[in-house]
Protein backbone atom coordinates (compact mmCIF):
# COMPACT_ATOMS: atom_id res chain seq x y z
CA UNK A 1 0.00 0.00 0.00
CA UNK A 2 1.71 3.15 -1.16
CA UNK A 3 1.02 6.62 0.07
CA UNK A 4 1.10 9.32 -2.59
CA UNK A 5 1.92 12.98 -2.03
CA UNK A 6 -1.64 13.86 -2.89
CA UNK A 7 -2.81 11.78 0.02
CA UNK A 8 -0.47 13.59 2.39
CA UNK A 9 -1.85 16.92 1.26
CA UNK A 10 -5.37 15.77 1.84
CA UNK A 11 -4.40 14.64 5.29
CA UNK A 12 -3.24 18.14 6.12
CA UNK A 13 -6.44 19.69 4.85
CA UNK A 14 -8.79 17.66 6.94
CA UNK A 15 -8.68 17.46 10.70
CA UNK A 16 -11.51 15.06 11.33
CA UNK A 17 -10.10 12.11 9.45
CA UNK A 18 -9.06 8.93 11.13
CA UNK A 19 -5.37 9.12 11.91
CA UNK A 20 -4.76 5.52 12.83
CA UNK A 21 -4.96 2.73 10.33
CA UNK A 22 -8.43 1.32 10.58
CA UNK A 23 -9.87 -1.06 8.06
CA UNK A 24 -13.13 -1.89 9.82
CA UNK A 25 -15.28 -0.16 12.43
CA UNK A 26 -18.42 -1.46 14.12
CA UNK A 27 -20.96 1.25 13.32
CA UNK A 28 -24.55 0.02 13.21
CA UNK A 29 -25.56 -2.09 16.20
CA UNK A 30 -27.91 -5.04 15.80
CA UNK A 31 -31.17 -3.37 16.95
CA UNK A 32 -30.55 -0.46 14.61
CA UNK A 33 -29.94 -2.79 11.70
CA UNK A 34 -33.08 -4.77 12.44
CA UNK A 35 -34.96 -1.49 12.68
CA UNK A 36 -33.61 -0.40 9.29
CA UNK A 37 -34.88 -3.46 7.47
CA UNK A 38 -38.20 -3.66 9.31
CA UNK A 39 -38.72 0.02 8.62
CA UNK A 40 -37.82 -0.40 4.94
CA UNK A 41 -40.34 -3.23 4.67
CA UNK A 42 -43.05 -1.24 6.48
CA UNK A 43 -42.55 1.77 4.20
CA UNK A 44 -42.67 -0.41 1.11
CA UNK A 45 -45.95 -1.97 2.25
CA UNK A 46 -47.34 1.45 3.23
CA UNK A 47 -46.52 3.01 -0.13
CA UNK A 48 -47.98 0.13 -2.15
CA UNK A 49 -51.16 -0.23 -0.10
CA UNK A 50 -51.47 3.57 0.14
CA UNK A 51 -51.34 3.90 -3.63
CA UNK A 52 -54.12 1.35 -3.99
CA UNK A 53 -56.20 3.01 -1.29
CA UNK A 54 -56.13 6.20 -3.33
CA UNK A 55 -56.35 4.48 -6.74
CA UNK A 56 -58.28 1.25 -6.15
CA UNK A 57 -57.96 -1.80 -8.40
CA UNK A 58 -60.65 -2.50 -11.00
CA UNK A 59 -63.93 -3.75 -9.53
CA UNK A 60 -64.57 -7.43 -9.06
CA UNK A 61 -67.84 -9.00 -10.06
CA UNK A 62 -70.06 -10.89 -7.67
CA UNK A 63 -71.63 -10.19 -4.35
CA UNK A 64 -70.01 -7.69 -2.04
CA UNK A 65 -69.60 -10.37 0.60
CA UNK A 66 -67.46 -12.42 -1.83
CA UNK A 67 -64.61 -9.95 -1.59
CA UNK A 68 -62.73 -7.79 0.87
CA UNK A 69 -60.13 -6.16 -1.38
CA UNK A 70 -60.22 -2.64 0.03
CA UNK A 71 -60.69 -4.11 3.48
CA UNK A 72 -57.43 -6.08 3.23
CA UNK A 73 -55.51 -3.25 1.57
CA UNK A 74 -56.54 -0.94 4.34
CA UNK A 75 -55.86 -3.56 7.00
CA UNK A 76 -52.30 -4.07 5.77
CA UNK A 77 -51.82 -0.32 5.51
CA UNK A 78 -52.84 0.18 9.12
CA UNK A 79 -50.85 -2.85 10.32
CA UNK A 80 -47.73 -1.55 8.56
CA UNK A 81 -48.57 1.92 9.90
CA UNK A 82 -48.43 0.58 13.44
CA UNK A 83 -45.13 -1.18 12.73
CA UNK A 84 -43.74 2.03 11.27
CA UNK A 85 -44.92 4.13 14.23
CA UNK A 86 -43.75 1.71 16.92
CA UNK A 87 -40.44 1.36 15.05
CA UNK A 88 -40.12 5.14 15.03
CA UNK A 89 -40.61 5.28 18.81
CA UNK A 90 -38.09 2.49 19.24
CA UNK A 91 -35.62 4.35 17.04
CA UNK A 92 -35.92 7.43 19.26
CA UNK A 93 -35.30 5.26 22.32
CA UNK A 94 -32.31 3.69 20.60
CA UNK A 95 -30.82 7.11 19.91
CA UNK A 96 -30.51 7.49 23.69
CA UNK A 97 -29.03 4.10 24.50
CA UNK A 98 -27.20 3.22 21.29
CA UNK A 99 -23.74 4.29 20.12
CA UNK A 100 -22.97 7.74 18.77
CA UNK A 101 -23.94 6.78 15.19
CA UNK A 102 -27.44 5.96 16.36
CA UNK A 103 -27.94 9.64 17.18
CA UNK A 104 -27.23 10.88 13.67
CA UNK A 105 -30.82 10.39 12.56
CA UNK A 106 -31.97 12.95 15.13
CA UNK A 107 -29.10 15.42 15.07
CA UNK A 108 -27.94 17.53 12.18
CA UNK A 109 -24.84 19.64 12.91
CA UNK A 110 -26.00 22.42 10.60
CA UNK A 111 -24.29 25.04 12.74
CA UNK A 112 -20.88 23.63 11.87
CA UNK A 113 -19.14 25.07 8.86
CA UNK A 114 -17.41 21.76 8.29
CA UNK A 115 -20.78 20.05 7.83
CA UNK A 116 -21.58 22.30 4.91
CA UNK A 117 -18.14 22.12 3.32
CA UNK A 118 -18.20 18.34 3.57
CA UNK A 119 -21.72 18.33 2.16
CA UNK A 120 -20.52 20.41 -0.77
CA UNK A 121 -17.68 18.01 -1.31
CA UNK A 122 -20.14 15.11 -1.45
CA UNK A 123 -22.34 16.96 -3.94
CA UNK A 124 -19.27 17.59 -6.11
CA UNK A 125 -18.37 13.91 -5.87
CA UNK A 126 -21.79 13.00 -7.26
CA UNK A 127 -21.36 15.60 -9.98
CA UNK A 128 -18.05 13.93 -10.99
CA UNK A 129 -16.14 17.04 -9.91
CA UNK A 130 -14.11 15.28 -7.22
CA UNK A 131 -11.84 12.36 -7.93
CA UNK A 132 -12.92 10.52 -4.81
CA UNK A 133 -15.24 10.89 -1.82
CA UNK A 134 -14.20 11.28 1.79
CA UNK A 135 -14.48 8.42 4.23
CA UNK A 136 -17.13 8.38 6.91
CA UNK A 137 -17.79 6.11 9.83
CA UNK A 138 -21.44 7.14 9.98
CA UNK A 139 -23.52 8.74 7.23
CA UNK A 140 -21.99 11.07 4.70
CA UNK A 141 -23.35 14.61 5.14
CA UNK A 142 -25.58 14.46 2.08
CA UNK A 143 -27.17 11.18 3.16
CA UNK A 144 -27.37 12.53 6.69
CA UNK A 145 -29.27 15.63 5.60
CA UNK A 146 -31.77 13.66 3.53
CA UNK A 147 -32.33 11.07 6.24
CA UNK A 148 -33.06 13.68 8.89
CA UNK A 149 -35.37 15.73 6.69
CA UNK A 150 -37.22 12.89 5.01
CA UNK A 151 -37.17 9.97 7.41
CA UNK A 152 -37.21 11.80 10.74
CA UNK A 153 -39.30 14.87 9.91
CA UNK A 154 -41.17 13.27 6.99
CA UNK A 155 -41.80 10.06 8.92
CA UNK A 156 -43.20 12.05 11.81
CA UNK A 157 -45.51 13.93 9.45
CA UNK A 158 -46.73 10.62 7.98
CA UNK A 159 -47.37 9.19 11.44
CA UNK A 160 -49.21 12.27 12.65
CA UNK A 161 -51.37 12.63 9.53
CA UNK A 162 -51.82 8.86 9.27
CA UNK A 163 -53.11 8.53 12.80
CA UNK A 164 -55.30 11.59 12.36
CA UNK A 165 -56.94 9.81 9.41
CA UNK A 166 -57.09 6.63 11.45
CA UNK A 167 -58.87 8.49 14.26
CA UNK A 168 -61.71 9.20 11.86
CA UNK A 169 -62.61 5.53 11.89
CA UNK A 170 -61.82 4.75 15.52
CA UNK A 171 -64.09 7.66 16.38
CA UNK A 172 -64.33 10.61 18.74
CA UNK A 173 -62.88 9.85 22.15
CA UNK A 174 -60.58 7.04 20.94
CA UNK A 175 -56.92 7.42 21.88
CA UNK A 176 -56.06 8.07 18.25
CA UNK A 177 -58.57 10.93 18.33
CA UNK A 178 -57.31 12.28 21.66
CA UNK A 179 -53.70 12.22 20.50
CA UNK A 180 -53.98 13.10 16.81
CA UNK A 181 -57.51 14.42 16.15
CA UNK A 182 -56.35 18.03 16.54
CA UNK A 183 -54.41 17.68 13.31
CA UNK A 184 -57.56 17.81 11.18
CA UNK A 185 -58.75 21.35 12.06
CA UNK A 186 -55.14 22.52 12.17
CA UNK A 187 -54.56 21.47 8.57
CA UNK A 188 -58.03 22.55 7.39
CA UNK A 189 -60.35 19.60 6.96
CA UNK A 190 -60.25 15.86 6.47
CA UNK A 191 -59.58 16.04 2.72
CA UNK A 192 -56.56 18.30 3.30
CA UNK A 193 -55.07 15.84 5.79
CA UNK A 194 -55.58 13.05 3.27
CA UNK A 195 -53.86 14.99 0.56
CA UNK A 196 -50.86 15.98 2.64
CA UNK A 197 -50.55 12.37 3.69
CA UNK A 198 -50.69 11.48 0.01
CA UNK A 199 -48.05 14.05 -1.00
CA UNK A 200 -45.88 12.66 1.79
CA UNK A 201 -45.92 9.28 0.11
CA UNK A 202 -44.38 10.70 -3.06
CA UNK A 203 -41.66 12.49 -1.12
CA UNK A 204 -40.74 9.26 0.64
CA UNK A 205 -40.90 7.20 -2.55
CA UNK A 206 -38.48 9.55 -4.30
CA UNK A 207 -36.20 9.42 -1.26
CA UNK A 208 -36.19 5.62 -1.28
CA UNK A 209 -35.30 5.55 -4.99
CA UNK A 210 -32.34 7.87 -4.44
CA UNK A 211 -31.35 6.13 -1.22
CA UNK A 212 -31.21 2.67 -2.76
CA UNK A 213 -29.39 3.95 -5.83
CA UNK A 214 -26.78 5.81 -3.83
CA UNK A 215 -26.36 2.88 -1.43
CA UNK A 216 -25.54 0.59 -4.34
CA UNK A 217 -23.44 3.17 -6.17
CA UNK A 218 -21.41 4.09 -3.12
CA UNK A 219 -20.92 0.44 -2.29
CA UNK A 220 -19.22 0.08 -5.65
CA UNK A 221 -17.62 3.48 -6.16
CA UNK A 222 -16.77 4.91 -2.75
CA UNK A 223 -13.93 3.94 -0.50
CA UNK A 224 -16.06 2.14 2.04
CA UNK A 225 -18.68 -0.58 2.37
CA UNK A 226 -22.35 0.38 2.55
CA UNK A 227 -24.85 -2.40 2.00
CA UNK A 228 -22.90 -4.99 3.96
CA UNK A 229 -22.58 -2.41 6.74
CA UNK A 230 -26.34 -2.30 7.10
CA UNK A 231 -26.30 -6.10 7.24
CA UNK A 232 -23.34 -6.90 9.46
CA UNK A 233 -22.83 -3.59 11.21
CA UNK A 234 -19.16 -3.31 10.21
CA UNK A 235 -17.93 -0.46 8.06
CA UNK A 236 -15.07 -1.75 5.92
CA UNK A 237 -12.70 0.72 4.30
CA UNK A 238 -11.22 -0.14 0.98
CA UNK A 239 -8.03 1.86 1.48
CA UNK A 240 -5.96 3.14 4.36
CA UNK A 241 -5.61 6.66 3.10
CA UNK A 242 -7.45 9.28 5.21
Amino acid sequence: MSITSEDLLREKRRASVPKARRTAVYVYQTPLRIWHWVNALAITVLAITGWFIANPLPSLAGEASDHFVMGYLRFFHFAAGYVFAVGFLFRIYWAFVGNSYSRQLFTLPFWRRSFWTELWHEVRWYAFKEPEPHKYYGHNPLAHLFMVVIITVGGLVMIVTGFALYSEQTGLGSWQDELFGWVIPLVGQSQDVRLWHHWGMWVIVVFVMLHVYTAIREDVMSRQSLISTMISGWRMFKDDRP
Binding site: E168, L172, Q191, V205, V206, M209, K238, D240
Partner: protein, 368 residues
Amino acid sequence: MPTTETFYEVMRRQGITRRSFIKFCSLTATALGLGPSFAGKIAHAMETKPRTPVLWLHGLECTCCSESFIRSAHPLVSDVVLSMISLDYDDLIMASAGHQAEAILEEITHKYKGNYILAVEGNPPLNQDGMSCIIGGRPFVEQLQEVAKDCKAIIAWGSCASWGCVQAARPNPTQATPVDQVIRDKPIIKVPGCPPIAEVMTGVLTYMLTFERVPKLDRQGRPVMFYGQRIHDKCYRRPHFDAGQFVEEWDDEAARKGYCLYKMGCKGPTTYNACSTVRWNDGVSFPIQSGHGCIGCSEDGFWDKGSFYQHVTDTHAFGVEANADKVGLGAVGVVGAAIGAHAAYSAIHRAKQQDNQPSDASPAGDDR
Protein backbone atom coordinates in the same frame (compact mmCIF):
# COMPACT_ATOMS: atom_id res chain seq x y z
CA MET B 1 -95.84 38.84 24.53
CA PRO B 2 -95.94 38.01 28.21
CA THR B 3 -92.51 37.16 29.59
CA THR B 4 -93.69 34.26 31.70
CA GLU B 5 -95.20 32.15 28.93
CA THR B 6 -93.82 28.62 28.67
CA PHE B 7 -93.11 26.80 25.40
CA TYR B 8 -96.10 24.61 26.01
CA GLU B 9 -98.42 27.56 26.46
CA VAL B 10 -97.16 29.11 23.26
CA MET B 11 -97.77 25.90 21.39
CA ARG B 12 -101.27 25.51 22.74
CA ARG B 13 -101.98 29.09 21.77
CA GLN B 14 -100.80 28.16 18.26
CA GLY B 15 -103.41 25.42 18.15
CA ILE B 16 -101.16 22.41 18.79
CA THR B 17 -102.94 19.63 20.70
CA ARG B 18 -101.46 17.95 23.75
CA ARG B 19 -101.34 14.69 21.82
CA SER B 20 -99.27 16.30 19.08
CA PHE B 21 -97.08 17.93 21.67
CA ILE B 22 -96.26 14.59 23.33
CA LYS B 23 -95.59 13.04 19.92
CA PHE B 24 -93.22 15.88 19.17
CA CYS B 25 -91.34 15.28 22.41
CA SER B 26 -90.86 11.57 21.61
CA LEU B 27 -89.78 12.33 18.05
CA THR B 28 -87.27 14.87 19.24
CA ALA B 29 -85.86 12.55 21.87
CA THR B 30 -85.32 9.94 19.16
CA ALA B 31 -83.83 12.39 16.68
CA LEU B 32 -81.36 13.51 19.32
CA GLY B 33 -80.37 9.93 20.00
CA LEU B 34 -81.62 10.10 23.58
CA GLY B 35 -83.44 7.29 25.34
CA PRO B 36 -87.26 7.05 25.50
CA SER B 37 -87.21 8.41 29.06
CA PHE B 38 -86.02 11.73 27.67
CA ALA B 39 -89.37 12.30 25.96
CA GLY B 40 -90.85 12.93 29.41
CA LYS B 41 -88.00 15.20 30.35
CA ILE B 42 -88.43 17.24 27.20
CA ALA B 43 -92.18 17.51 27.82
CA HIS B 44 -91.61 18.57 31.40
CA ALA B 45 -89.07 21.18 30.44
CA MET B 46 -91.35 22.62 27.79
CA GLU B 47 -94.26 22.82 30.19
CA THR B 48 -92.39 24.55 32.96
CA LYS B 49 -89.61 26.62 31.45
CA PRO B 50 -90.30 30.11 30.24
CA ARG B 51 -89.88 30.32 26.51
CA THR B 52 -86.43 31.34 25.29
CA PRO B 53 -86.73 33.71 22.37
CA VAL B 54 -84.77 33.00 19.20
CA LEU B 55 -83.64 35.78 16.90
CA TRP B 56 -82.81 34.65 13.41
CA LEU B 57 -80.55 36.96 11.41
CA HIS B 58 -79.76 36.71 7.72
CA GLY B 59 -76.43 37.83 6.32
CA LEU B 60 -74.85 37.03 2.99
CA GLU B 61 -76.68 33.81 2.09
CA CYS B 62 -79.03 32.07 -0.32
CA THR B 63 -81.80 31.16 2.16
CA CYS B 64 -81.32 27.43 1.56
CA CYS B 65 -81.01 26.92 5.32
CA SER B 66 -84.44 28.47 5.96
CA GLU B 67 -85.87 26.53 3.02
CA SER B 68 -84.54 23.33 4.51
CA PHE B 69 -85.72 24.23 8.00
CA ILE B 70 -89.34 24.89 7.11
CA ARG B 71 -89.44 21.49 5.38
CA SER B 72 -88.72 19.50 8.52
CA ALA B 73 -89.58 15.87 7.89
CA HIS B 74 -92.44 15.70 10.26
CA PRO B 75 -94.84 18.58 9.65
CA LEU B 76 -95.44 18.50 13.36
CA VAL B 77 -91.83 19.28 14.08
CA SER B 78 -91.77 22.35 11.89
CA ASP B 79 -95.09 23.56 13.27
CA VAL B 80 -93.91 23.22 16.81
CA VAL B 81 -90.48 24.63 16.30
CA LEU B 82 -91.73 27.46 14.15
CA SER B 83 -94.23 28.36 16.82
CA MET B 84 -91.35 28.56 19.23
CA ILE B 85 -89.29 30.94 17.18
CA SER B 86 -91.18 32.73 14.44
CA LEU B 87 -92.88 34.95 17.00
CA ASP B 88 -89.73 36.87 17.40
CA TYR B 89 -87.42 38.04 14.71
CA ASP B 90 -86.74 36.32 11.43
CA ASP B 91 -86.80 38.83 8.62
CA LEU B 92 -87.55 36.04 6.16
CA ILE B 93 -90.71 34.52 7.62
CA MET B 94 -92.08 36.94 10.18
CA ALA B 95 -95.19 38.98 9.48
CA SER B 96 -93.84 42.42 10.35
CA ALA B 97 -91.47 44.39 8.16
CA GLY B 98 -89.41 47.57 8.07
CA HIS B 99 -89.22 49.69 11.23
CA GLN B 100 -91.72 47.47 12.98
CA ALA B 101 -89.41 44.49 12.50
CA GLU B 102 -86.34 46.33 13.70
CA ALA B 103 -88.34 47.42 16.76
CA ILE B 104 -88.91 43.77 17.69
CA LEU B 105 -85.19 43.17 17.55
CA GLU B 106 -84.62 46.11 19.84
CA GLU B 107 -87.30 44.95 22.25
CA ILE B 108 -86.12 41.36 22.54
CA THR B 109 -82.47 42.23 22.97
CA HIS B 110 -83.39 44.53 25.86
CA LYS B 111 -86.10 42.54 27.54
CA TYR B 112 -84.34 39.20 27.35
CA LYS B 113 -80.83 40.54 27.79
CA GLY B 114 -78.38 37.63 28.10
CA ASN B 115 -81.19 35.16 27.71
CA TYR B 116 -82.04 34.83 24.02
CA ILE B 117 -80.51 32.63 21.38
CA LEU B 118 -79.12 34.14 18.21
CA ALA B 119 -79.39 32.04 15.07
CA VAL B 120 -77.36 33.32 12.13
CA GLU B 121 -77.87 32.27 8.56
CA GLY B 122 -75.18 33.51 6.20
CA ASN B 123 -72.19 35.57 7.14
CA PRO B 124 -70.96 39.15 7.20
CA PRO B 125 -68.74 40.46 4.38
CA LEU B 126 -66.06 42.74 5.82
CA ASN B 127 -64.51 44.39 2.76
CA GLN B 128 -65.71 47.83 1.54
CA ASP B 129 -66.89 48.58 5.10
CA GLY B 130 -69.30 45.67 4.94
CA MET B 131 -71.48 47.28 2.32
CA SER B 132 -71.89 44.05 0.34
CA CYS B 133 -74.65 43.12 2.74
CA ILE B 134 -76.93 45.89 3.99
CA ILE B 135 -79.80 45.23 6.41
CA GLY B 136 -82.13 48.08 7.35
CA GLY B 137 -79.69 50.59 5.80
CA ARG B 138 -76.65 49.40 7.72
CA PRO B 139 -73.93 46.81 7.14
CA PHE B 140 -74.99 43.38 8.37
CA VAL B 141 -71.83 43.06 10.45
CA GLU B 142 -73.09 45.90 12.70
CA GLN B 143 -76.45 44.26 13.26
CA LEU B 144 -74.71 40.99 14.00
CA GLN B 145 -72.39 42.53 16.56
CA GLU B 146 -75.20 44.41 18.30
CA VAL B 147 -77.52 41.45 18.58
CA ALA B 148 -74.69 39.09 19.54
CA LYS B 149 -73.61 41.34 22.39
CA ASP B 150 -76.33 40.23 24.82
CA CYS B 151 -77.23 36.79 23.50
CA LYS B 152 -76.80 33.56 25.40
CA ALA B 153 -75.38 31.53 22.54
CA ILE B 154 -75.13 31.63 18.77
CA ILE B 155 -76.21 28.98 16.31
CA ALA B 156 -74.31 29.29 13.03
CA TRP B 157 -76.67 27.82 10.43
CA GLY B 158 -75.17 26.18 7.40
CA SER B 159 -71.76 26.22 5.80
CA CYS B 160 -71.98 30.01 5.24
CA ALA B 161 -72.17 30.95 8.89
CA SER B 162 -69.89 28.08 9.92
CA TRP B 163 -67.09 28.23 7.34
CA GLY B 164 -67.89 30.91 4.75
CA CYS B 165 -69.19 28.70 1.92
CA VAL B 166 -69.53 29.87 -1.69
CA GLN B 167 -69.37 33.62 -1.03
CA ALA B 168 -66.06 33.06 0.75
CA ALA B 169 -64.64 30.84 -2.01
CA ARG B 170 -61.44 32.01 -3.63
CA PRO B 171 -60.82 34.89 -4.20
CA ASN B 172 -63.55 35.99 -1.78
CA PRO B 173 -63.85 39.58 -3.07
CA THR B 174 -66.21 40.75 -0.33
CA GLN B 175 -64.21 39.03 2.41
CA ALA B 176 -67.21 37.05 3.57
CA THR B 177 -66.22 35.83 7.04
CA PRO B 178 -67.67 33.03 9.15
CA VAL B 179 -69.45 34.08 12.32
CA ASP B 180 -66.90 32.65 14.76
CA GLN B 181 -64.23 34.93 13.31
CA VAL B 182 -66.32 38.02 14.00
CA ILE B 183 -67.90 37.15 17.35
CA ARG B 184 -65.36 35.64 19.69
CA ASP B 185 -66.88 35.93 23.16
CA LYS B 186 -69.99 33.74 22.84
CA PRO B 187 -70.51 30.00 22.58
CA ILE B 188 -71.04 29.24 18.89
CA ILE B 189 -72.69 26.05 17.66
CA LYS B 190 -71.88 25.29 14.04
CA VAL B 191 -74.50 23.43 12.08
CA PRO B 192 -72.81 23.19 8.68
CA GLY B 193 -74.22 21.87 5.43
CA CYS B 194 -75.40 23.54 2.26
CA PRO B 195 -78.06 23.44 3.57
CA PRO B 196 -78.03 21.52 6.84
CA ILE B 197 -80.60 18.72 7.17
CA ALA B 198 -83.93 19.99 8.53
CA GLU B 199 -84.09 17.40 11.32
CA VAL B 200 -80.58 18.31 12.36
CA MET B 201 -81.55 21.98 12.59
CA THR B 202 -84.72 21.39 14.57
CA GLY B 203 -82.94 18.81 16.71
CA VAL B 204 -80.18 21.21 17.69
CA LEU B 205 -82.61 24.03 18.35
CA THR B 206 -84.96 21.91 20.43
CA TYR B 207 -82.09 20.54 22.44
CA MET B 208 -80.89 24.02 23.29
CA LEU B 209 -84.33 25.36 24.09
CA THR B 210 -85.44 22.46 26.27
CA PHE B 211 -82.22 21.65 28.08
CA GLU B 212 -80.98 25.24 28.16
CA ARG B 213 -77.48 24.17 27.35
CA VAL B 214 -75.20 23.83 24.39
CA PRO B 215 -75.05 20.28 23.00
CA LYS B 216 -71.71 18.48 23.15
CA LEU B 217 -69.49 19.89 20.42
CA ASP B 218 -66.48 18.52 18.58
CA ARG B 219 -63.20 20.38 18.06
CA GLN B 220 -64.64 22.43 15.23
CA GLY B 221 -67.73 23.41 17.22
CA ARG B 222 -70.24 21.03 15.60
CA PRO B 223 -72.79 19.07 17.66
CA VAL B 224 -71.36 15.57 18.07
CA MET B 225 -74.80 13.97 17.92
CA PHE B 226 -75.14 14.84 14.25
CA TYR B 227 -71.57 15.49 13.09
CA GLY B 228 -69.68 12.85 15.07
CA GLN B 229 -69.26 10.52 12.12
CA ARG B 230 -68.55 10.70 8.42
CA ILE B 231 -71.02 9.95 5.64
CA HIS B 232 -68.70 7.03 4.74
CA ASP B 233 -69.03 5.49 8.23
CA LYS B 234 -72.75 4.90 7.84
CA CYS B 235 -73.13 4.74 4.07
CA TYR B 236 -75.25 1.86 2.83
CA ARG B 237 -72.81 1.39 -0.11
CA ARG B 238 -69.95 0.74 2.28
CA PRO B 239 -69.96 -3.07 1.73
CA HIS B 240 -69.10 -2.35 -1.92
CA PHE B 241 -66.27 -0.08 -0.81
CA ASP B 242 -64.79 -2.75 1.43
CA ALA B 243 -65.19 -5.35 -1.29
CA GLY B 244 -63.49 -3.07 -3.81
CA GLN B 245 -66.51 -2.71 -6.09
CA PHE B 246 -66.64 0.73 -7.62
CA VAL B 247 -68.55 2.73 -10.16
CA GLU B 248 -65.97 3.58 -12.84
CA GLU B 249 -68.21 5.64 -15.12
CA TRP B 250 -71.57 7.27 -14.62
CA ASP B 251 -73.52 4.92 -16.83
CA ASP B 252 -71.72 1.64 -16.32
CA GLU B 253 -73.12 -1.61 -14.97
CA ALA B 254 -71.58 -0.91 -11.56
CA ALA B 255 -73.55 2.35 -11.36
CA ARG B 256 -76.74 0.44 -12.07
CA LYS B 257 -75.84 -2.06 -9.39
CA GLY B 258 -75.29 0.70 -6.88
CA TYR B 259 -71.58 0.14 -6.23
CA CYS B 260 -69.46 2.55 -4.20
CA LEU B 261 -68.84 6.02 -5.69
CA TYR B 262 -65.32 6.46 -4.29
CA LYS B 263 -63.65 6.46 -7.71
CA MET B 264 -66.20 9.02 -8.93
CA GLY B 265 -64.84 11.38 -6.30
CA CYS B 266 -67.33 10.74 -3.49
CA LYS B 267 -66.28 12.86 -0.50
CA GLY B 268 -68.15 10.68 1.98
CA PRO B 269 -64.84 9.52 3.50
CA THR B 270 -63.90 13.08 4.43
CA THR B 271 -67.29 14.59 5.27
CA TYR B 272 -68.92 14.83 8.67
CA ASN B 273 -72.69 14.95 8.46
CA ALA B 274 -75.81 12.93 9.19
CA CYS B 275 -77.01 12.40 5.58
CA SER B 276 -76.35 8.67 5.52
CA THR B 277 -78.44 8.16 8.68
CA VAL B 278 -81.08 10.92 8.81
CA ARG B 279 -81.28 11.39 5.01
CA TRP B 280 -83.23 14.11 3.26
CA ASN B 281 -86.79 15.07 2.38
CA ASP B 282 -88.64 13.14 5.02
CA GLY B 283 -85.92 10.49 5.06
CA VAL B 284 -86.61 9.62 1.43
CA SER B 285 -83.08 9.60 0.07
CA PHE B 286 -79.72 11.34 0.06
CA PRO B 287 -77.24 12.14 -2.72
CA ILE B 288 -75.40 8.80 -2.67
CA GLN B 289 -78.68 6.90 -2.69
CA SER B 290 -79.57 8.82 -5.84
CA GLY B 291 -76.32 7.74 -7.48
CA HIS B 292 -74.12 10.81 -7.06
CA GLY B 293 -71.16 11.07 -4.72
CA CYS B 294 -71.15 13.30 -1.69
CA ILE B 295 -69.58 16.67 -2.57
CA GLY B 296 -68.60 17.41 1.03
CA CYS B 297 -70.95 20.36 1.40
CA SER B 298 -70.67 20.48 5.19
CA GLU B 299 -66.86 20.65 5.22
CA ASP B 300 -64.73 23.73 5.67
CA GLY B 301 -64.01 25.45 2.35
CA PHE B 302 -65.48 22.65 0.23
CA TRP B 303 -65.74 24.92 -2.84
CA ASP B 304 -62.00 25.39 -2.87
CA LYS B 305 -60.95 21.78 -2.42
CA GLY B 306 -60.82 20.78 -6.06
CA SER B 307 -63.08 18.66 -8.20
CA PHE B 308 -66.22 16.99 -6.89
CA TYR B 309 -65.42 14.12 -9.26
CA GLN B 310 -61.87 13.24 -8.30
CA HIS B 311 -60.66 11.27 -5.31
CA VAL B 312 -57.13 12.67 -5.36
CA THR B 313 -58.13 16.29 -5.77
CA ASP B 314 -55.79 19.09 -6.81
CA THR B 315 -53.94 20.82 -4.03
CA HIS B 316 -53.89 24.61 -3.78
CA ALA B 317 -50.94 25.70 -1.73
CA PHE B 318 -48.27 28.38 -1.82
CA GLY B 319 -49.98 29.96 -4.83
CA VAL B 320 -49.83 26.89 -7.06
CA GLU B 321 -52.33 24.25 -8.03
CA ALA B 322 -51.07 20.72 -8.46
CA ASN B 323 -52.26 17.15 -8.38
CA ALA B 324 -50.31 14.88 -6.06
CA ASP B 325 -50.45 11.82 -8.32
CA LYS B 326 -49.51 13.71 -11.49
CA VAL B 327 -46.58 15.42 -9.80
CA GLY B 328 -45.61 12.25 -7.94
CA LEU B 329 -45.60 9.97 -10.98
CA GLY B 330 -43.77 12.67 -12.94
CA ALA B 331 -41.14 13.00 -10.22
CA VAL B 332 -40.65 9.23 -10.08
CA GLY B 333 -40.17 9.18 -13.86
CA VAL B 334 -37.69 12.05 -13.87
CA VAL B 335 -35.73 10.76 -10.88
CA GLY B 336 -35.74 7.23 -12.30
CA ALA B 337 -34.35 8.49 -15.61
CA ALA B 338 -31.79 10.66 -13.79
CA ILE B 339 -30.65 7.67 -11.74
CA GLY B 340 -30.27 5.59 -14.90
CA ALA B 341 -28.25 8.30 -16.62
CA HIS B 342 -26.13 8.94 -13.54
CA ALA B 343 -25.44 5.24 -13.12
CA ALA B 344 -24.43 4.89 -16.76
CA TYR B 345 -22.17 7.94 -16.62
CA SER B 346 -20.67 6.72 -13.33
CA ALA B 347 -19.69 3.44 -14.98
CA ILE B 348 -18.13 5.20 -17.97
CA HIS B 349 -16.35 7.71 -15.74
CA ARG B 350 -14.94 4.94 -13.60
CA ALA B 351 -13.80 2.92 -16.56
CA LYS B 352 -12.06 5.99 -18.00
CA GLN B 353 -10.34 6.76 -14.70
CA GLN B 354 -9.14 3.19 -14.43
CA ASP B 355 -7.82 3.29 -18.00
CA ASN B 356 -5.96 6.53 -17.42
CA GLN B 357 -4.31 5.67 -14.17
CA PRO B 358 -2.28 2.80 -12.87
CA SER B 359 -4.47 0.63 -10.68
CA ASP B 360 -3.01 1.59 -7.29
CA ALA B 361 -3.81 5.28 -7.72
CA SER B 362 -7.40 4.83 -8.81
CA PRO B 363 -9.86 6.34 -6.37
CA ALA B 364 -11.91 3.36 -5.40
CA GLY B 365 -9.93 0.51 -6.78
CA ASP B 366 -7.21 0.23 -4.11
CA ASP B 367 -7.33 -2.76 -1.83
CA ARG B 368 -9.56 -4.84 -4.00
